[in-house]
């Protein structure tokens, strides 16, 4: 296990290094100089040069890349070109919306998918299974942002149970904060729940065909007892992997959902940054999202290997 973990850790560091290099190089080829963009077209050349020095744009590319990476490791993401404030602070503020939203959606998706998947597998081929599978087929076809708009129409505009958008802030209390994230979280969760329910069902069906399930029945457990004690437990391994992977999808998906509900999260930050050509903010947010995906995958791999020793030798 230790050797496997070390090997995975090495490849984690390598992935992060290559990903950061790719992001840096893509942003590098962007036309235009940030300093002259910030100062406008009438700026004096020496003012531009001074600002370039201040932003650290006058040093060679390799050195800039290394400085960028080492600063990030120290939690310093640089200074925003347009707002002149620390990018790390801007991101941290927005993370308090995007991260809870993604987690909330993950919880909802799991709460919907587990019962649905287990129910469908237990009633395989019957009407209940057909209904769940039909619903998941529809669930994966619905664009989450459209579903979000429909929920705003029904629950915010017509029924007035929720506000149509915006975020009240966590200082208004946990309940108020969660309440304003509920519609976004549901719309984010539903398509993922459809996928997860399918994985849960097929994973459980595989297990139900195993010999040990027959043994469990033979030793006198009822269908229900065998299903819960031996079936669901064993079916969890692939399901947990998918849940881990879904977290990164949810974080990236929240970028689009935030637009529907006018939430001040990472998505809003990055779109504002794109339109004001604040490339350092774009660079940092993208790096953060990719970092999240890579690290979550790493954790999922390790958990998987800890639970199932067969996997350690495979990679």
């Amino acid at each position: 296990m230790l050797r496997y973990s070390l090997k995975r850790l090495m490849s984690l560091i390598l992935s992060l290094a290559v990903a950061s290099l790719v992001i840096f190089l893509v942003i590098e080829v962007a036309p235009g100089d940030p300093a002259s963009f910030m100062l406008g077209i009438n700026a004096q050349p020496d003012t531009v040069a001074a600002l370039r020095t201040e932003l650290g744009l006058d040093v060679p590319k390799t050195q800039r890349y290394l400085t960028w990476v080492s600063n990030m490791l120290n939690g310093d993401f640089g200074t925003s070109y347009t707002y002149r404030t620390s990018v790390a602070t801007m991101i941290a503020d927005r993370m308090w919306v995007s991260l809870p939203l993604a987690l909330y959606a993950l919880v909802l998706s799991t709460l919907i998918a587990f019962p649905a998947g287990i129910y469908a597998a237990a009633r395989r081929g019957k009407a209940g299974d057909m209904a769940v599978m039909g619903a998941t087929q529809l669930g994966v076809a619905v664009p989450n942002f459209w579903f979000a708009m429909m929920m705003v129409l029904v629950f915010a505009i017509n029924l007035r149970w929720f506000s149509a958008g915006g975020f009240v802030g966590w200082d208004k209390g946990l309940w108020a904060g969660l309440h304003s994230l509920t519609l976004p979280a549901i719309s984010l969760a539903l398509p993922q729940a459809a996928i997860l329910a399918r994985v849960m069902r097929s994973s459980l069906l595989d297990i139900l065909g195993e010999d040990f399930m027959r043994t469990a029945r033979a030793k006198g457990l009822s269908r229900r007892q065998a299903l819960w004690r031996h079936g669901v437990r064993n079916a969890m391994i692939p399901v947990l992997t998918i849940i881990g992977l879904q977290f990164s999808f949810l974080l990236a998906g929240s970028i689009i959902i935030e637009q529907v509900f006018y939430l001040p999260g990472l998505g809003r930050l990055v779109f504002q940054a794109i339109s004001s050509r604040d490339l350092i903010v774009v660079e940092s947010v993208v790096m953060l999202l990719v970092f999240a995906v890579i690290v979550v995958n790493f954790i999922v791999d390790l958990t998987y290997a800890a639970v199932d020793p067969r996997l350690r030798s495979r990679t």
Partner: protein, 271 residues
């Protein structure tokens, strides 16, 4: 013929037919504004109603189908064009440094969700339908590379490949002449799935302004325009949404149906 295949084929051909027909005929010009007739609900003159500029929504949906299909189709072609050769090479050189590099490269690309690629490209080059194509296309590459490699690996163990090797064929030639035709079914099924995912992704990207720009009609942008008017003109949001759902649903059913049809083993296992 199974039920999925019939429904899937019907829905998909309907959308493709609408897209093709829009090249020669739409009820109205999709860009024609007619302010006096703005925001009409569906009626006999305008089957799907009109938007805030009085443009005919039915015509816009038809032309929008064109954008969706074009973006998703080119993105799938990018995925197949680059991913399949990579997967074939990795399988032919299983365990070598080349295989290792290709697979690690795949993992790396997987860490960039399509929306993140689109954000990067748009930040650097500005918004446009091309960006959506590239972003979704890059996202498709590792998908096809993995599917191809996985299927090709098991084929390389088979006797008929061994005979081809004994006959002195190079591994490149074997990959092309014997492996590729045998993974084709799998690629068709995966292609259908990626095509439907591409339609969803295109809609999402144009919704947030990272995809097709005006005046190119797109379902995602129609939804973005509809957002502020959803309280008094819900049909503006309802119709493009249903168009997306039916298209994606049709393609998914087509993919499921094709899988059962092309792989008889699965059919037996089911019954």
């Amino acid at each position: 013929m199974n039920r999925n295949l019939i429904i899937g084929t019907t829905l998909s051909s309907l959308v493709i037919f609408a897209a093709l027909l829009s090249f020669i005929w739409t009820p109205y010009a999709h860009t024609a504004m007619n302010i006096p007739e703005k925001l009409q609900s569906p009626n006999w003159q305008h089957w799907f109603g009109t938007d805030h500029f009085g443009r005919d929504i039915f015509s816009m949906i038809m032309v929008g189908a064109r954008t969706s299909i074009a973006v998703a189709l080119v993105a799938v072609s990018i995925g197949i064009g680059i991913g399949v050769p990579l997967g074939l090479t990795a399988a032919a050189r299983k365990g070598s440094w080349l295989d290792e590099i290709i697979m690690r490269g795949n993992d790396l690309v997987f860490a960039f969700p399509a929306i993140v690629i689109a954000i990067l490209i748009t930040a650097v080059f500005g918004a446009g339908a091309i960006n959506a194509i590239i972003a979704i296309g890059i996202f498709n590459i590792p998908v096809f590379a993995r599917v191809t490699r996985g299927a090709a690996l098991s084929l390389w163990e088979r006797d008929f490949i061994l005979s081809a090797r004994v006959a002195g064929k190079s591994s490149a030639r074997i990959s092309f002449e014997h492996i590729l035709p045998n993974v084709m079914n799998l690629l068709i099924v995966q292609g259908t799935i990626q095509f439907s995912l591409g339609i969803l992704a295109e809609a999402g990207l144009s919704y947030v302004g990272l995809g097709a720009q005006p005046p190119t009609p797109s379902w995602g942008r129609m939804l973005a325009d509809a957002q502020t008017m959803v309280s008094f003109a819900p049909h503006l949001a309802l119709i493009p949404g249903v168009a997306i759902i039916l298209t994606v649903l049709g393609l998914n059913l087509l993919g499921d149906g094709l899988r059962d049809y092309l792989d008889p083993r699965l059919r037996i296992a089911r019954s």
